[in-house]
């Protein structure tokens, strides 16, 4: 019997993850994507989650339930640096208690705990014909896609607020993602990436020299899954704001600038040791944004996210010392969309007024 493999959504990363798994399992399995996140996903997830667990847990669980209902037999999950590291085990137990039968595999992102051999072994069980050569090729291909899509998305994020015709940039990005899903080698990915970048750069923009600039920091899941943050980056774009965010998958996994010693140095004394998970990153980037001419910072976290809660007092101090406004959001399943929009609108009014007075 063929394995039916699924995994939770996070932004657009289902493209490289699907690719990775498909390349590794070959003919012994097929990837079936979990249905896109909707209100139903979060309702299902919340219903079966402990009340006080953070919101990424609830989204992931909702994705799993919807995938299992569609017939998935193997679920992939990742681990994390905070309590997210335990989520896969708790979720597995909840799903088994609900009566689902499946196999749970962990794509460990933390290379300290997992070697290539373990990784290979995990997929070898699903696909007995897997070789080391094929494993390495699949990893390289997926990583190449991640780098390409992150670069494209960074460009889109910074410029989407200034399109002369709404939707052009996003359409190029989506076409790239569709094409890259079929790519067989890293060379094809490179070619598609160059094509897409050329197209993106030729899109006419109506961008003023001194556009308002906002930096976004916080917890990785709510930063990268737009459904969970009420599409906050899209809302910002509507105001004609340039948005910068460092955290994406290529940054988290591979950037030397995400290492703790670098971040502590970048924090310029505001953090002298690791806060845990991405809290140090939030502090370091607040300092960076404050010192590089940004007009404001938006800090996002799931309600009850301990590392980010710990970073907030330091961010407040930075805000006060360096005179940069910071808007904080906590997301949970009940947050009202109107509340988010009201605060964003007021934040925009505020930084715009400030800009005008400085002029």
């Amino acid at each position: 019997m063929k394995h039916k493999i699924s995994f939770p959504h996070m932004g657009k990363y289902s493209v490289p993850i699907k690719k990775l798994i498909e390349e590794l399992v070959g003919d012994s399995g097929e990837v079936m994507l979990a249905p896109s996140i909707t209100k139903k996903t979060i309702e299902l997830g919340s219903k079966h989650s402990p009340e006080f667990v953070c919101i990424p847990f609830k989204y992931n669980l909702g994705n799993f339930i919807e995938a299992l209902e569609n017939g998935a037999t193997v679920l992939f999950h990742t681990s994390g640096d905070c309590r997210m590291g335990f989520y896969n085990e708790v979720q597995e137990q909840i799903l088994r208690d609900l009566g689902y039968e499946f196999e749970m595999c962990i794509l460990e992102t933390n290379s300290r705990n997992r070697s290539l051999r373990d990784f290979y072994g995990m997929f070898k069980r699903l696909n007995p014909r897997l070789t080391y050569a094929r494993t390495i090729k699949a990893i390289l291909l997926a990583v190449r896609i991640v780098f390409a899509m992150d670069k494209i998305e960074r460009y889109v994020r910074q410029n989407i607020g200034f399109e002369t015709q709404a939707g052009t940039l996003e359409e190029i990005e989506n076409t790239f993602l569709r094409d890259v899903a079929k790519a067989k080698s890293i060379f094809t990915v490179g070619k598609l990436y160059k094509q897409a970048m050329r197209k993106l750069e030729s899109v006419p923009l109506n961008k003023p020299q001194n556009a308002l600039k906002i930096g976004v920091v916080g917890e990785l899941y709510v930063l990268m899954e737009p459904f969970s943050n009420y599409f906050i980056e899209k809302e910002l774009a509507k105001f004609g704001i340039e948005v910068t965010r460092f955290i994406d998958v290529s940054y988290l996994l591979f950037s030397p600038k995400h290492k703790i010693p670098y971040l502590v140095k970048e924090s310029e004394g505001y953090a002298t040791y690791d806060i845990g998970a991405d809290g140090t990153d939030s502090v370091a980037k607040c300092v960076y944004f404050a010192k590089n001419g940004y007009d404001g910072i938006i800090h996002l976290k799931p309600f009850g996210c301990t590392p980010e809660v710990n970073s907030i007092p330091i961010c407040q101090k930075i805000s006060e010392d360096l005179g940069i406004p910071i808007l904080y959001f906590s997301f949970d399943s009940q947050t009202s969309e109107t509340g988010v929009k009201t605060r964003l609108e007021a934040f925009y009014d505020m930084i715009e007024m400030k800009r005008e007075t400085v002029k």
Partner: protein, 313 residues
Amino acid sequence: MQAYLGIDIGSISTKGVVIDADAQIIAHSYLWTEGDPIGAVKRVLAELKGQLPPAVDVVSVGTTGSARKLIGTVLGAQVVKNEITAHAVGTMSRVPDVRTILEIGGQDSKIILLNNGIVTDYAMNTICAAGTGSFLMSQAKRLGLAIDELGEMALKSQNPTRIAARCTVFAESDLVHKAQIGHKKEDIVAGICNAVVNNYLNNVGKGKKIAAPTVFQGGVSKNVGVVRAFSQVLGHEVYVDDFGHLMGCLGVAVLAKTKGNTKSFDFNIQEVSFVTKGKECEKCPNNCEIIYVYRNDDLLDSWGNRCERGVAS
């Protein structure tokens, strides 16, 4: 004479003002929303019209509050603004050098910091309604007092009772306990007022520098006990404006005044029928709730859809 209309449609109350070219209030109205924002606005408009001299021509309209979008569409408003900006602008038109605005309403509370006439920081309470008007209301009821008696009673206290401020549930059990061991009623009431202030400063005002001049507004500012508690904790005078409850609508009226594109506003909107319909999209499992607004059966506007599949046809 040219004049400007501002309306603030909150969840509990609807407020309206008409101002002249010097931003002076020439008509104002304050009444309950009662779950019917369009009806409440019609009543506010009728009241305002009654107060206006005949020669006044309202040329620009602004809306704010949680129903700002709906009412903005219905009235064809030139300005639709969030409550935070509206309150800041409104307060500055009365107290130009204000540095801090404290606001405690029935369900929510906010703090706005200003410097040289611009908003530099703000916060709204996000999750918890402890320390707002509804908490005072329920505690007044528990003590068998009317809500407007609380303030005067608190002023009589020489020795306010200590009451836990963090959480309404803890505060309430603390309060019951203190009453049962024999604390005087006025001390308990003063303790509640202090608890509201401490809760506000710990949650909403956390990490913010509260500089003078400080203006306190929102329904709870009518409670002199809370006003005194604020002055004591902050160590400086807290200013309460008689028109404190109208700052939101005053703010959007001022913004409407500066907006420019003027158009004569017709107060006879009472006779027009506005109908709203909420419908679930059902084109994907997200089931976005789409709101349609009709003016005499013509579709005026619709919103609520997350993607183009939900566009009203």
